[in-house]
């Protein structure tokens, strides 16, 4: 929280994107979160990703639930559509909005409490239906907004700020997303923008349900020794399986990659992800392998990060429902009520 407005002056040599915007044009109003909160860094990464993707802000809908994390859409993309839903209910609003207008870019921002505690049921259905969107969980292991109670992602055995030990098993949202059929799954850390920004870019360009679990330390309630979501703990146990560069659809691959070391994944829109493998055997297209690897490394106390699974040609909700290409909210009376002749024909087909 600061009391002064962020000055509108910017660096005189700031780069502009294809739309003529600087990254400053993707900001929202000034953050009211605690100084140092990981969530602010994720907002900055989203800003950078949208800037680099040349996204027109008015084409984005940002949706969230309740929590410090869910407040953050106010702090980026000030010119986009936004919806703050009831606690844990963002997935149903997201599904509805996406059905009504398939043309917007959907960005869900939630917390570990909002998603894994109160919102777990909604989250599961959103993912398994394959809604075309990017879902980011800003995961700090606590309910930041309500003063630091353990959330459902807090690791068993980790210690609260006041010394209590968490006795409950934790939910690994990445494992859940894999199990539920998400076609793009990754994990990252608010303190590593080099990894996070390209992941967000690739997720936004992905067709289908893209899920990102971003560990985001709560400096007020969960950044102490004994926490497994603190800056120090995450830095010590961060095990990245790959590094990625995002190459947007239109541009050819400019960098020369050493053959073998890099895998190029092409997404449906032609954009490419250049994956530099860090763990030789890790295969980003193997859902079961990924799940096993995750569980195994988690048991060893390590936090696996990077792009963990991607299915570039996955299907999404609209494909499955066979909806028309035109957004439903733009259909007029003529298309929606084709008249009694059409009804008769339809009824006849059911006889």
């Amino acid at each position: 929280m600061t009391y002064i407005v962020k000055p509108r002056f910017h660096h005189p040599a700031l780069p502009k994107n294809a739309l003529g915007y600087t990254h400053r044009d993707y900001e929202g109003s000034v953050s009211t979160l605690c100084a140092g909160c990981g969530h602010d860094s994720i907002s900055a990464a989203i800003i950078q990703a949208c800037f680099e993707l040349n996204i027109e802000p008015h084409r984005v809908a940002k949706l969230s639930g309740i929590g410090c994390s869910s407040k953050t859409p106010t702090y980026f993309l000030g010119q986009s559509h936004g919806f703050n839903s009831v606690h844990g209910r963002m997935p149903s609003v997201m599904t509805g909005a996406n059905l009504a207008n398939r043309e917007l870019i959907y960005l869900g921002v939630s917390g570990d409490g909002d998603t894994a505690s109160i919102g777990l049921g909604q989250f599961a259905h959103l993912i398994r239906r394959g809604v075309n969107m990017t879902y980011i969980v800003e995961n700090n292991g606590v309910y930041g907004l309500t003063k630091g109670q353990f959330s459902a992602t807090a690791d068993r055995g980790s210690k609260s700020k006041r010394g209590a030990i968490n006795a409950d098993s934790s939910i690994d949202l990445v494992a859940m997303a894999l199990q539920l059929g998400a076609t793009f799954v990754g994990r990252s850390f608010s303190g590593d923008k080099k990894q996070l920004v390209p992941l967000i870019m690739a997720a936004i360009e992905h067709k289908g349900a893209a899920f990102l679990d971003v560990i985001s330390p709560c400096v007020a309630f969960n950044n102490h020794p004994g926490s497994t979501k603190s800056f120090d703990h995450v830095r010590e146990h961060n095990e990245a399986v790959n590094r990625l560069d995002f190459i947007s659809g239109r541009s050819p691959i400019a960098v020369d990659y050493e053959p073998g070391a890099v895998e190029i994944v092409e997404q449906h829109d032609g954009s490419k992800i250049a994956l530099r493998k860090l763990d030789g055997d890790y295969d980003v297209h193997d859902r079961r392998g990924a799940t096993n690897f995750l569980l195994e490394r988690a048991a060893a106390g390590e936090i696996v990060t990077g792009l963990l699974y991607v299915e570039p040609d996955g299907e999404e909700l609209h494909d499955n429902l066979k909806t028309v290409k035109k957004p439903l909210n733009t259909l007029g009376e003529r298309e929606l009520c084709p008249g009694s002749g059409a009804l008769d024909k339809f009824n006849a087909s059911l006889r």
Binding site: T2, I4, H11, L14, C34, A35, G38, S41, N223, F231
Partner: protein, 596 residues
């Protein structure tokens, strides 16, 4: 890169661009904040201490601080540092009680200053309160030098000169007006403990082209003519006036002519308009009064009839690059042009001249006839004779003369205390954290978006009628406040403590100017390519701090930092702090002497 040593007084001094650029190193942001707080007397005294003539400089300074001002890199125009100085002088209370008192019992050391311009007066101001017996000799009746004799009254009223020279003479300095020194040898024989030569650069360059002699009656050397105007000897000029030259003297000549009967006054310069020596604002002021400036015209001949000037013939030139890439003026081939006129003012340069200094008394001169003067101590090759101001290294300006005066005073003080004058004192640095609360600072860190405010002017018709009517009216207090708020407080430094940093990126994310980067270390040139925002301004330092937990370094590009303190407000651990660095140059007195 090596980690930055912020204990080096020059490091943060350089960040305060204006103060670093000011020859006298005036603590600019400190006085600007005092103006914003309405504490004009305090603001005045800070100026008085470092630049001696706040009221005069607030109207006439060449303001090297303004092109350096960080605000000019953040938006279009710098803070009006100079005219804010005038505000302090205009609205202060009677400050005489706060000035040093004449010393009752002198220390027995006698110093003489030749010339009563700003350089000598600065020496006198610094040394008199220490007990030195100071005598200032000038051929003119009053103290002030060219500030009084050259700068037109419509830019600098006598009352301001009287007041500020008075503060110095009231320290018990003996001023002997109307006393020209004709022999330095004779002066040396008078056994002064030290001699300071502040005689300026008193000779105006002439133009030796056909017709010069024949039409001499109506051809005047600019600076001679201006001093004659100042003294009231010259009160009229012809209707049609041509001013030759593109410097500040030319601008004063043309504007003065306009007030003494000139109706058709034109300036003609050899070079291009852009290359003119005059400051942009001096050109602007002349053009605002309707004076045309013609460029690329080289005077060829004065035309005359029956011993009376009739005009000037000019050759057209254009600028070309020669084989070595140097710019040269070559004839353009267009026909010559004749400008008819009644009077010509020649303002094509100014020179030193030392006819009164014998060449056999131990003072060496170089091939250009300039005395050999040490650039740090201002001592000549004679152990007791010092030079400063325009006399030392050729014509400059008032603030340089003052800066030279301070340094010469330090040298003289050390010399007469038996010290090595080559050993120069460091500035005094005071560092104070500005933190008052979680997001409260003892300076106003909110950044004003306002554009530079214009200084109100006297109505043109009224101004042109009276050569003594000051053109600029100065800011009123409301405008002064708004202009003062544009200052970015560059002396409130961002100070980083790596031991406290948890590398959460909060400062990187909030910084409106993208100044901050956490990255692996490297050589400066390469490191500059890896920063959050382009770091092309090599004149501005990178602040590098190491010993972060991840082994990276924190790099802050000082270039366009707004000193808004948001990095410190967003830092959860207090690794960033905003600390005010008050840097004051050490002047003559005990502080400048070594403790040994």
């Amino acid at each position: 890169m090596k980690p930055t040593d912020i204990r080096d007084p020059n490091y943060f001094h350089k960040v305060v661009d204006c103060q670093w650029a000011c020859p006298a190193h005036t603590p600019v942001p400190e006085y600007i904040r005092l103006i914003a707080a309405g504490r004009y007397s305090d603001a005045y005294l800070i100026n008085w201490k470092s630049n001696v003539f706040p009221g005069i400089l607030g109207r006439t300074c060449d303001r090297p601080c303004e092109p350096a001002c960080r605000r000019g890199r953040v938006e279009k125009e710098p803070v009006a540092i100079c005219r804010l100085k005038r505000v302090a002088a205009d609205y202060k209370d009677d400050i005489t009680a706060r000035l040093p008192k004449p010393v009752e019992k002198k220390n027995g050391k006698r110093i003489v200053c030749v010339g009563g311009g700003p350089a000598s007066l600065a020496v006198a101001r610094d040394l008199a309160p220490l007990g030195y017996d100071i005598t200032v000799l000038d051929q003119d009746p009053q103290a002030g030098g060219m500030m009084r004799t050259q700068i037109p009254k419509f830019r600098l009223p006598d009352s301001v000169i009287d007041e500020e020279c008075g503060y110095i003479l009231d320290l018990g300095v003996a001023f002997a007006g109307g006393k020209r020194v004709d022999s330095l040898k004779a002066l040396l024989a008078e056994n002064w403990d030290a001699i300071f030569v502040g005689c300026g650069a008193p000779r105006g360059r002439d133009l030796d082209i056909p017709g010069r002699k024949e039409a001499a009656k109506n051809i005047h050397i600019g600076i001679d003519w201006l001093s004659s105007v100042s003294f009231g000897h010259t009160t009229k000029i012809g209707k049609r006036v041509i001013v030759l030259g593109g410097g500040n003297t030319a601008m004063d000549c043309c504007r003065s002519s306009l007030r003494l009967g000139g109706e058709d006054v034109q300036v003609v310069v050899r070079s291009g308009f852009e290359e003119m020596k005059a400051s942009p604002w001096e050109k602007e002021d002349a053009m605002h009064e309707g004076i045309p400036i013609h460029n690329y015209l080289v005077p060829k001949e004065f035309t005359h009839e029956n011993g009376k000037l009739t005009g000037v013939v000019f050759e057209h030139v254009k600028a070309e690059k020669d084989a070595k890439g140097r710019r040269k003026l070559v004839p353009s081939g267009e026909p010559d042009r004749h400008f008819p006129c009644d009077d010509v003012l020649v303002a094509v340069g100014q020179e030193n001249s030392f006819p009164w200094i014998e060449r056999d008394i131990g003072i060496d001169f170089d091939e250009w006839g300039m005395p050999k003067v040490d650039e740090r101590t201002f001592r000549s090759t004679h152990p007791k004779v010092f030079f400063g101001g325009d006399a030392a290294f050729g014509p400059k300006n008032i603030i340089w003369a003052v800066a030279h005066g301070h340094e010469a005073a330090v040298s003289i003080d050390k010399l007469l205390n038996g010290e090595d004058i080559g050993h120069r004192p460091l500035p005094a640095v005071e560092v104070v954290s500005q933190k008052m609360g979680i997001h409260e600072w003892s300076y106003d860190n909110d950044i004003a978006g306002d554009k530079r405010y214009r200084v109100p002017l006297r109505d043109k018709v009224v101004a042109l009628k009276d050569i003594r009517a000051e053109v600029e009216l100065g800011y009123d207090d409301a405008l002064a406040f708004k202009e003062a708020q544009r200052c970015l407080n560059c002396d409130v430094q961002t100070v980083f403590e790596s031991k406290l940093c948890i590398e959460c990126d909060a400062c990187v994310d909030i910084c409106p100017m993208d100044c901050i980067t956490f990255t692996p270390n490297g050589e400066e040139a390469e490191l500059r390519t890896r920063l959050t925002a382009p770091a092309h301004n090599l004149a501005q330092d990178l602040y590098v701090v190491n010993e972060l937990k991840t082994g990276r370094v924190m790099v802050k590009d000082e270039d366009v930092c707004l000193h808004c303190g948001l990095c410190a407000e967003r830092c959860p651990t207090g690794a960033w702090d905003m600390q005010k660095t008050l840097i004051e140059m050490t002047q003559a007195g005990t502080a400048c002497r070594s403790r040994a």
